[in-house]
């Protein structure tokens, strides 16, 4: 997935001279996850460069660049470190188009490695997407595989609005279904690891059904897509797994079509439960599919605690917990 992310930036920089890439360790070194490797050598220091350790500075400068007419695709090293830039993202990037009546816009992409499952502890594991889905003016995107990562990132860079682009770092080198005791398979053995060389896009605001099923619907994104698929296989339950891909804008139609068909809905995310994006999904499904629901909507998420270190697999919503929720959802009788 790293190569796909890098390729998306490469393709975009090649096609559009206004695309610039910067962040901490992003330039010469090519990023701590190697996502920008080779870009500085290829495009020069004025297109890809290292930034001071200042998240609000990185985002604030990018907003100024966008006001000039550039299209910055910037990196915050870990989503856990985005908070110093929160003011610039929420008060500025998200609102500039609205408050200036379109005189100024902020077509920026903020890439952030996110998510847990890597013994990252409290500040290398967070999934803060709900903090951004709550902000009008932002788009929020989370790919789950290399093909989508490239297509969605190119779409995000070309999008005229600010996009928060979460990259589940657990998926950088291969899919992960939560079975941490099993050997890891690389993306080369996965069909979605096959990424076309040149330019292509995956549209924002379009979900995709990863596994068709009739028993219940699972709404997931990022790493949880694989966890949900594994839970379906482990339990033998014919679950329909939807990969949302973008949270704002949200593909409500794909969601409601599925839930109206299955009558049951489980929402799975790594982020903490209370006021997480799952709450919004549950409310929408309840509003749109109330008369089709045969069981309460269930949420399987991280616990309402900071992300712990030693208790990684007790915290991470793995296939066992998701599978249990599936079984319980099917036991419910209307």
């Amino acid at each position: 997935m790293i190569e796909a992310v890098r390729s998306a930036m490469d393709v975009s920089m090649e096609r559009d001279g206004d695309v610039v890439v910067f962040g901490e360790d992003v330039g010469y070194f090519g990023g701590v996850f190697r996502a920008t490797q080779g870009l500085q050598q290829k495009y020069g220091t004025h297109r890809c460069f290292d930034a001071p350790i200042s998240e609000s500075g990185i985002v604030g400068a990018a907003i100024g660049m966008a006001a000039y007419g550039l299209k910055p695709c910037i990196e915050v090293q870990f989503a856990d470190y985005v908070y110093p830039a929160f003011d610039q993202i929420v008060s500025e990037a998200a609102r500039i188009r609205y408050r200036s009546n379109g005189q100024f816009t902020a077509p920026i992409v903020i890439r952030m490695p996110s998510g847990g499952g890597i013994f990252g502890g409290q500040t290398h594991s967070q999934s803060p997407e709900a903090l951004f889905t709550h902000v009008s003016g932002l788009k929020v995107v989370i790919p789950s595989n290399p093909y989508d990562a490239k297509g969605l990132l190119i779409s995000s860079i070309e999008d005229p609005d600010p996009v928060i682009f979460f990259e589940p770092k657990r998926l950088y080198n291969g899919p992960f279904d939560g079975h941490h005791d099993r050997p890891i398979t690389p993306w080369s053995k996965h069909e979605l690891g096959d990424v076309p060389e040149g330019h292509f896009t995956v549209p924002l605001g379009k979900a995709v059904v990863r596994r068709e099923g009739s028993a219940l619907t699972v709404l997931a994104y990022g790493t949880m897509v694989y966890v949900a698929q594994a839970a379906a296989e482990d339990t033998g339950i014919d679950a329909e797994v939807i990969d949302l891909r973008s949270l704002v804008p949200l593909d409500l139609e794909t969601i409601t079509t599925s839930v109206k068909k299955t009558g049951r809905c489980i929402i799975v995310h790594e982020a903490t439960l209370t006021s997480g994006f799952g709450a919004e999904l549950a409310a929408l499904v309840q509003e749109q599919c109330f008369y089709h629901l045969e069981a309460p909507i269930a949420r399987v998420t991280g616990w309402d605690t900071p992300y712990p270190h030693a208790q990684e697999w007790d915290y991470f919503p793995g296939p066992a917990r998701v599978g249990q929720a599936m079984i319980e959802a099917l036991e419910e009788q209307p």
Binding site: P52, S56, G64, Y68, Q88, R99, N101, S136
Partner: protein, 422 residues
């Protein structure tokens, strides 16, 4: 309480007195006699004018002095004099008078309920009006809410400013923004945000972009004394310094951040300008009430930026004569007569006296000009009020509320607009 210094031989070994918490206080509070005698004001013309390529280290003295051109007799003296013609100075005087008349009318309009809010510039007119004249078309300002002089001096129509203040049907921002949060891209005036300090680092990014593209445009960031305490101030200085961005970083030190005196933000630093030195950014302090000095310093900084010599930090030493906003009463925290004691005087009167001393202006012409300026402002106001005020007349449509959040309205907003029935 024990005096620990007397207990140096006790087993705990601490020979120092108990720690004391320090909170800076202004010299005078309401009821007191205003006194600025401890504010050193150098003589006009006494501060040197270095070459624009001089390095920050050797410019140290300029961060601790005050560049001034106009002396007590209204003469322009010293090495910073002579950047403006008589015609330009007369235009500058008119700009400042217009801003002052505009402020007075809008202040009154707020009291009359025609708008919810206003913030005036009284005493600070020179900083934004003179600075604007040092820029070229295409340069971009990232102002705070107290630089409307950039618009007035840049020829932006007063009617459009008032339409914005009234949130009426002709409001260029469709009623979405609080009064005075203007945005005027074509006039080099970036959209104002209510969040302090954010635009300072954005101005650096804009300047970086200009350099990345090999352009010839420069940016100017603006911030008040109080907001220099925001973290974006520091981010701006780091980025400006690191990338040698073609930006002028302006600090308007008007002594007050609402009720908080400047010492709370400045701390132990001798001056705000001195903060630039630690970042290797040439830093100058200028008499913010001296139109000629402001212009000369701005021109110097603009030339540095245009010649790719990097950023400049400027501290404008001035005084916020008016209340912080229409929601503020300064008599609760500072002496009522403090502004009269301010040693740098009034920017309008000082420029007027200079022009009279030069023989190109007179008290009579000034009075006449005051009347003309007021007429122009009132005529603009009448024109604006035809489009409505906050609570009467034409309004932006409720549909506009849903537009412009994104380039294209996403489905969830369309649903909400339908639900709102508009």
């Amino acid at each position: 309480m024990t005096d620990k210094s007397a207990n140096a031989d006790l087993p705990d070994g601490n020979q120092y007195p108990p720690l004391k918490f320090h909170v800076p206080e202004p010299a005078v509070r309401p009821g007191g006699q205003p006194d600025f005698s401890n504010v050193p004001i150098p003589k006009a013309g006494s501060v040197r004018r270095p070459e624009v390529d001089e390095r920050a280290e050797t410019l140290r003295d300029l961060a601790f002095s005050i560049i001034r051109v106009l002396n007590r007799s209204g003469e322009a003296v010293g090495p910073w004099a002579g950047t403006l013609t008589d015609e330009e100075l007369l235009e500058g005087l008119k700009d400042m008078m217009t801003l002052r008349a505009f402020d007075a009318r809008m202040q009154m309009a707020q009291r009359q309920g025609k708008t919810s809010f206003y913030m005036q510039h009284m005493g600070e007119e020179a900083a934004s009006c003179a600075f604007r004249k040092a820029l070229l078309p295409g340069d971009m300002n990232f102002p705070t809410y107290r630089q409307a002089g950039l618009l007035i001096a840049g020829g932006y129509p007063m009617v459009d400013m008032m339409n914005q203040i009234y949130s009426n049907e002709a409001d260029p921002l469709k009623g979405r923004q609080m009064p005075i949060m203007y945005s005027a891209r074509d006039h080099g005036f970036f959209s104002i945000s209510g969040n302090l300090g954010t635009q300072f680092v954005q101005s650096v990014g804009w300047a970086m972009a200009s350099a990345i593209k090999g352009d010839d445009k420069i940016a100017a960031g603006w911030i008040g004394d109080g907001s220099t305490a925001e973290s974006d101030f520091h981010a701006a200085l780091v980025f400006a310094s690191t990338y040698r961005a073609p930006v002028i970083l302006n600090i308007v030190n008007n002594q007050w951040a609402i009720s908080t005196f400047q010492g709370i933000a400045r701390g132990g630093a001798g001056t705000f300008a001195a903060r630039g030195l630690g970042f290797g950014i040439p830093a100058l302090r200028v008499d913010g009430n001296d139109y000629l000095a402001v212009h000369a310093v701005a021109k110097w900084a603009a030339e540095r930026a245009r010649r790719n010599l990097g950023p400049t930090l400027i501290e404008y030493v001035t005084y916020r004569v008016g209340a912080h906003s229409t929601s503020d009463d300064p008599s609760a925290y500072r002496p009522k007569t403090e502004s009269e004691a301010w040693p740098l005087g009034d920017p309008v009167i000082r420029l007027k006296n200079h022009l009279i001393a030069r023989g190109v202006w007179s008290e009579e012409r000034h009075k006449q000009s005051e009347a003309e300026v007021l007429d122009a402002v009132i005529s603009a106001q009448k024109q604006a009020e035809k489009h409505g005020t906050l609570h009467s007349g034409g309004k932006p449509s409720a549909r506009d509320m849903f537009e412009g959040v994104y380039a294209e309205m996403p489905p969830h907003l369309r649903r909400q607009r339908q639900k709102a029935g508009i």
